[in-house]
């Protein structure tokens, strides 16, 4: 490779410092999204086609399910959220990301570890702890990498220009603080010095719920709090609501960990505390929703892809917040717990709230960092449309199927084979929804790849010119 490497005219030196690591994290996360959805689709097919690839041990349903969840949560949601979070800290602080080279290297290690880890789940089987499925040694390395990245976020925050902090910063810092705490404590208590008996499930629940509500949700909310007013051009309606919403979220979300263990072999008081916290989560959901919906610039929706994704996310946030509170009480959990209904809530949370919030940031940030717009204008429309259709089918099929499954299971006179048989149609519909959803994510990959080629073209052109010159010269002889 001895081609000349000139700098393109529009390259911005400050862009490389902040831009390259962020673009790397965002790009990597898109690949994980598609890989994770591919695995999830295969898992979903196996829910109703048990003979599919039955002779291959690597792709049992349990392994595919764990591998897809790991790829999506640690590959897509976490990585894209982290990339955006670091960008938000730099942007709101009026500074650059601290040690961008280290961020880049840590990102590389993260992806390498996760690739090995997902392969490890398929080859060796999941760990059995749903929030920590990777093989133990890899989890340790991943925890170190995550901690380094989160510390770099704090270093970026420390470099900020003086001035009042904004909600987006509070939420990003919450996430960056919660992730290492969750990862380290659960590692220590589940892997290094494993606790005995059902305490494992308690810690697993605490860690799993923490990953959703204290790591992913704050990153998504930070994105919404920043981009909705920023793109819409209207400041937040109520800073007081923002403060209340933030502290209430932090307080109640951190106590919801045991809510799904209703009726399980764990102390009843902690389940009760978590149920109360899940219901009280309505308070921050109301404050945050009001603040976000009140500034929603409906007129601007037509011209900004990012804003449309943010709108989808804000609506899903309100709905999922209400659903979490509604299904938390004992009477609801006794029927709907352990069915497909919580799967629907989880999917709405991840793919309806967190995903679109991150994509809002993605569509807003990538053009700024790359120095050019996304080449295809139809692709984001297709992306959003298919996301909504696919997600709708997924959530409705899991929701309705889980509802019926729950009531059938609650009636001891209905035999289990009958319950399972009636669930079939809903599982098949879910596969259809997931297929539409997964297909709907391919435009963003194509668009990003095209953008990447366009960005690299200035580097490639002189080489290409050199090549054509020599070839025409050769032809002229």
């Amino acid at each position: 490779m001895n081609r000349p490497a000139p700098t393109p005219a529009n390259a911005n030196p400050s862009c490389c410092a902040t831009g390259l690591p962020v673009l790397y994290l965002l790009g990597g996360s898109i690949l994980w999204l598609l890989a994770g959805l591919g695995l999830a689709l295969l898992a979903s097919l196996k829910q109703h086609q048990p003979w599919l690839l039955a002779s291959c041990e690597w792709v049992t349903y349990g392994r595919l399910d764990a591998a897809s969840r790991t790829a999506l949560v640690h590959g897509f949601f976490s990585q894209m959220g982290l990339g955006l979070g670091l960008w938000l800290l730099a942007r709101t602080g009026g500074t650059k990301i601290a040690a961008p080279g280290l961020v880049f290297i840590a990102g590389l290690v993260w992806n390498a570890i996760l690739t090995l880890g997902v392969a490890g789940i398929l080859v060796e089987g999941p760990s059995g702890h749903t929030s920590l499925e990777l093989p133990q040694q890899l989890t340790t390395v991943l925890t170190v990498v995550m901690t380094v990245l989160c510390l770099l976020g704090f270093a970026t925050f420390a470099k900020r220009a003086d001035g009042p902090t904004v909600p987006a910063q509070w939420f990003v810092l919450t996430a960056l603080f919660a992730l290492p705490v969750l990862a380290i404590t659960s590692q220590v208590t589940l892997s290094f010095f494993p606790v005995r008996g059902v305490l494992q499930s308690v810690i697993d629940g605490w860690n799993g719920q923490g990953l959703l509500l204290l790591w992913l949700a704050p990153l998504a909310l930070a994105s919404l709090y920043f981009f909705i007013p920023d793109i819409g051009g209207r400041p937040l309606r109520s800073p007081a609501f923002a403060k209340l919403g933030f502290w209430a979220w932090l307080f109640f979300a951190s106590w919801t960990g045991a809510a799904s263990l209703v009726g399980g072999p764990v102390p009843a008081w902690m389940v009760t505390v978590s149920i109360a916290a899940s219901v009280l989560l309505l308070i921050p959901v109301a404050f945050i929703s009001l603040n976000l919906h009140l500034v929603a610039p409906v007129s601007a929706l037509g011209r900004s892809t990012a804003l449309r994704f943010a709108a989808l996310s804000a609506i899903s946030f309100t709905v999922v917040g209400i659903l979490i509170a509604l299904i938390a009480p004992r009477c609801a959990q006794q029927v709907l717990g352990l069915t497909q209904f919580p799967v629907a809530v989880r999917e709405l949370f991840l793919f309806g709230f967190v995903g679109p919030a991150l994509f809002a940031g993605f569509y807003a940030v990538v053009p700024k960092l790359a120095g050019r717009e996304f080449p295809c204008r139809i692709s984001p429309v297709a992306h959003l449309g298919l996301t909504v259709i696919g997600l709708g089918i997924m959530v409705l099929s899991s929701g309705v199927g889980g509802w019926l499954q729950g009531w059938a299971l609650a009636d001891g006179k209905v035999g289990f084979p009958e319950v399972a048989a009636h669930l079939q149609i809903w599982l098949k519909l879910h596969t259809l929804g997931l297929a539409v959803f997964a297909f709907g994510q391919t435009p963003v990959l194509a668009n990003s790849a095209w953008l990447l080629v366009e960005c690299l073209l200035p580097f490639g052109k002189p080489a290409l010119a050199l090549f054509t010159e020599t070839s025409t010269a050769g032809a002229g002889k």
Binding site: P50, E57, G128, A178, L199, L250, M270, L338, P342
Partner: protein, 218 residues
Amino acid sequence: MNHGPVLFLGLVTTLVASWTGLVALPHRQLGALQPDVSTNAAGAVVSYPAARSGEAAQGAEVYRSLGCVACHTQQVRPENGGGDIARGWGKRRTVARDHLFDPTVLLGSSRLGPDLANYGERLGTNSFPLVRLYDPSSVATNSTCAPVTFLFEKRPIRSSGPSSEALVLKGTAAPPAGSEVVPTLRARQLAAYLRSLSTTVELPEALLPLVEDANAPK
């Protein structure tokens, strides 16, 4: 809220409080739990739960590694909380002590398949879970449980005669004439584990329902 320290202090306090409440306190309550020692009807001292035998303990590892927990729970919920006991999945609710010696506790969170807390009881002494593992639909029609055929060896019947361990299979799952399906070591371990699944033991915190003794003198 313009100062980093306030935020930092708030974050530390919240997470420490949550960890104390949802991890440390339950550990204080359950961490020192011991097996229940009692005297059975024959006068022998029994301890429950007992650690699993070698083969069944290895089977727990196979169960974990195949990801069976994705579809099967191992928790019977109390009588007033669902139809578990009425359906015959257990005679009493599952309590913390039942899982005391599980190396990895696999309570499960989805019931795409039936609960297995008392699967060993349901199998009884005569039936053999291996056929179920090889071809679930031969035992439960339309079962969506994935067959684990990779834990079995399909081989020509040896000159010394068919193996005593060969599965008795019917229908489409049956091997062609002259071949037999024999479980591998891991299949036998998994079967031993499944047979060991039982919580039908009375504990002070979870009593078994009273049974009317039909032979009792009137």
